[in-house]
Symmetry: C2
Subunit: 204 residues, 2 copies
């Protein structure tokens, strides 16, 4: 099949699929089933390509997950980076929880958070991916803590506030919301809870 003859195009037979779209579908499969629960058969079926093409394009399952997690972080998980740019610490906390709730309860998407349910527990074969997600969650916490530290320096938080503790509070609620969403709890109830959780800000 002659797709199109380009001059100075890449050498060799061109790909018969859109790698970006395939990766996006892999995100959904990992998100829904977790790293170990998403078999190569499930993945390739969701991506619409053969195992050969998947391995040629993405290396192996672990690498595919790595790239899927990056994509998730920039896409459905992008609310975190946006939230960190809110002008106040309360605004940051509010945006994080609202973003978590929206992202984990979006209709026609997997319920929950890929960074939480991707590999919370795993067999020995999934150890590396489990540790990758631990680092992902801890990185999220660190970025919130650093943002709250800045807020403290700017006088946006009381002098006696502990940025690490506040960050732990917000991320714990966020991870907890992800678990609740994976249990089928609806968006409105979680949002009402989040509103209440931030009504006395900052805690402690």
């Amino acid at each position: 099949m002659r797709v199109g003859t380009k001059q100075n195009g890449p050498i060799g037979r061109p790909r018969g699929f859109d790698a970006d779209e395939a990766l996006e579908r892999a995100v959904l499969a990992f998100w829904e089933h977790g790293y170990e629960g998403a078999s190569t058969a499930i993945l390739t079926d969701a991506m619409g390509i053969s195992t050969t093409s998947m391995y040629a394009a993405f290396g192996n399952k672990k690498e595919l997950f790595r790239k899927a997690l990056e994509r998730y972080t920039a896409g459905p998980g992008g609310y975190l980076a946006q939230a960190l740019e809110e002008p106040t610490a309360l605004g940051v906390a509010t945006a994080i929880l609202a973003g978590t709730i929206r992202s984990t309860t979006r209709p026609a998407h997997p319920q929950g958070c890929m960074g939480v349910q991707g590999a919370l527990a795993a067999s020995d074969a999934g150890r590396e991916v489990r540790e990758l997600l631990i680092a992902w969650r801890n990185d999220s916490h660190s970025s919130v803590r650093e943002r709250f530290q800045r807020a403290l320096d700017e006088g946006d938080l009381p002098a006696e506030s502990d940025p690490a503790l506040l960050a732990r509070y917000v991320t714990t609620l966020s991870f907890g919301i992800a678990v609740q969403a994976a249990s089928g709890v609806c968006r409105d109830e979680l949002q009402a809870m989040a509103d209440a959780a931030l009504r006395n800000w900052p805690p402690a």
Copy 2:
């Protein structure tokens, strides 16, 4: 091997292992690796018995998990039932969070909560167990909500309080703590966060 001749004892060859102790070891394996991550080989190795004995004594892997979850609920997860007997709503909430933190960060035990990381995401083969754990978590929430409703009826909570919202707040923190513990966050930091989270009680 002649173990001991009882009169009127159970007919047939007696078990060569302690079923209770084997179940307890199965709890640890499921707790650490999750339902699908704990293979029959891992399980039987941890339990110290053969697959034949495991299937004869516990039925199949799904049934073994069911029994392990019961054991977990009564053992490491027993803090919930105890907490519900605290005289005040604040006492209940405090005990739940403290119990969660203790249980999910116990040295020489798996980190996290079996009810959360047992099967937060799974393949199609783990669908039933995943739904079993969803019910387990939702039951936990319901029992807390009912306890807070009682507190409201008793005047232990302000009349404008919403027991469902308060229960959602406490369970969300509890599930979030389980995720943090699975990420290696230490006990003291989580307890400081929990203290702060309940300093303004009830929220909203």
